[in-house]
Symmetry: C2
């Protein structure tokens, strides 16, 4: 397994391989990432994982500086599952000058998480487009846990006719249901004990929808209130269609998404429901 730190090293590696599959990450890898990488391995003979904490997608006051950087441990995990290369550039390598050109996504990027993280999805779309140009993969894998991100990447790839197939990987959960996330490491033991409640509330809505309940506003409010009572600050609980528009009475497949904070740690999750 090669660890590539520069664009020049990446290019030199890339020309030696034909079809490549790609998993972009911010590192601090957990079983959720590893499941995405195993999915990538099923789709192409050569797998490259990027590890890059992208400053463009963090807003002022967000957790860019404290986001965990654990390259050595990440490399050991990736080596153990047998990938071909890691692309781990420095910020100066990926942005030798401040980025001037951006991908501007549609209004979807300003709803849900985008409403609480202005510019976040513009930063995500921009770095992903850049990584796609650098890595030139045939397929790229993204997790369903970041469902809004997945939707935006899919839309970008479609709109720009980027010749890459986007594959979605399932969310991996702890035994108590908490979706695996690098940010879980920020949780105190007390917070960690509370954390599965976000998923529990989403699955309650899922069950209610499957049982025929259609009062979306009330379902959202009930879930929010239950979390607030436990000490969460709720950014949103939203019942949407699969395009992430607010669900209406014609909707028959729902995405139920939530974002909520325990003190300074912001967690997100989502589940699907079908009538």
């Amino acid at each position: 397994m090669k660890i590539l730190h520069t664009v020049a090293e990446l290019h030199a590696w890339r020309v030696q391989h034909d079809q490549v599959s790609f998993v972009p990450t911010m590192g601090n890898l957990h079983e959720g990432h590893l499941a995405l990488i195993k999915l990538a391995q099923q789709h192409a003979p050569t797998v490259i994982v990027s590890i890059f904490v992208n400053p463009l997608q963090f807003g002022a006051g967000e957790d860019y500086t404290r986001y965990p950087r654990t390259l050595e441990a990440d490399a050991a995990k990736l080596s153990a599952i047998g990938i071909d290369a890691i692309f781990a550039p420095s910020v100066e390598e990926l942005y030798p000058q401040p980025q001037r050109y951006f991908i501007t996504p549609p209004a979807l990027a300003n709803t849900l998480c985008g409403a609480y993280r202005p510019g976040h999805f513009e930063g995500v779309a921009t770095v992903v487009m850049k990584l796609f140009q650098l890595v030139q993969p045939t397929i790229a894998v993204f997790g369903k846990k970041d469902y809004q991100q997945l939707t935006i990447i899919r839309g970008m790839v479609e709109d720009f006719a980027v010749p890459i197939t986007i594959i979605a990987g399932e969310t991996i959960r702890a035994t108590d249901g908490l979706a695996l996330s690098s940010r879980n490491g920020f949780l105190s033991p007390t917070e960690r004990a509370l954390a599965p409640a976000l998923y529990q509330q989403l699955t309650r809505i899922q069950q209610a929808l499957q049982d025929g309940e259609r009062d979306y506003a009330q379902l959202q409010l009930n879930a929010s209130n239950a979390l607030i009572k436990q000490g969460w600050q709720v950014d949103y609980i939203a019942i949407c269609d699969t395009q992430l528009n607010p669900a209406n009475l014609e909707t028959s497949s729902w995405m139920i998404l939530g974002a909520a904070r325990l003190e300074t740690t912001r967690l997100i999750d989502n589940v699907m429901a079908t009538s």
Copy 2:
């Protein structure tokens, strides 16, 4: 020579070729385009030219509907100089749904022509990024006549690490100096006789700079006034550095750019000067 009208036809053609060079155009080809294409032929064995009048880069009230569409004559010219393929999609083929994701260029896109054509360079950058993803060329050729466009495409390619080398082709002029442009066809005989004055004013500034004159504001004003006196409406005459920032007293290489209208026809041109 193949004429490809669909993305599927383009992909089928593309996989049969290794290195491809690309000249994006809006058609109505003249000797200026053909010079760019000959330049492309020098750089790669296989040349593809796109012909697409891109609605995204035309503002309300601009000449999108009257822009000349002359595919048959264009194909004859391209066949005569021996290119490999034309990609001539319909609007519905290139934008099967309205574009939702855009390339947002930096402030440069709002100066000079961008100040008079809001959204123009966003539309240009967006379609060029999409065409690059579709065609996947090794090199692409753009004309220096659209120098601000060339600068923006170069910046976009650099910022997104698009693996394409951008080559700039010289402006081709009529014997009286008028830069060749599809829009010259809109000029009445009287207007056509006046049209070389834009270039003449730019070369006057060029000469003055080379002679040591540094009163940029006065040089710009003199040129504007001379054109206005002849009946032009002047959008701008601008003395810039090679990055298209306003020139200052340290500047030693200048781009002198102008845009001006004769009735409903807007012409642009530029020349370079070096101290």
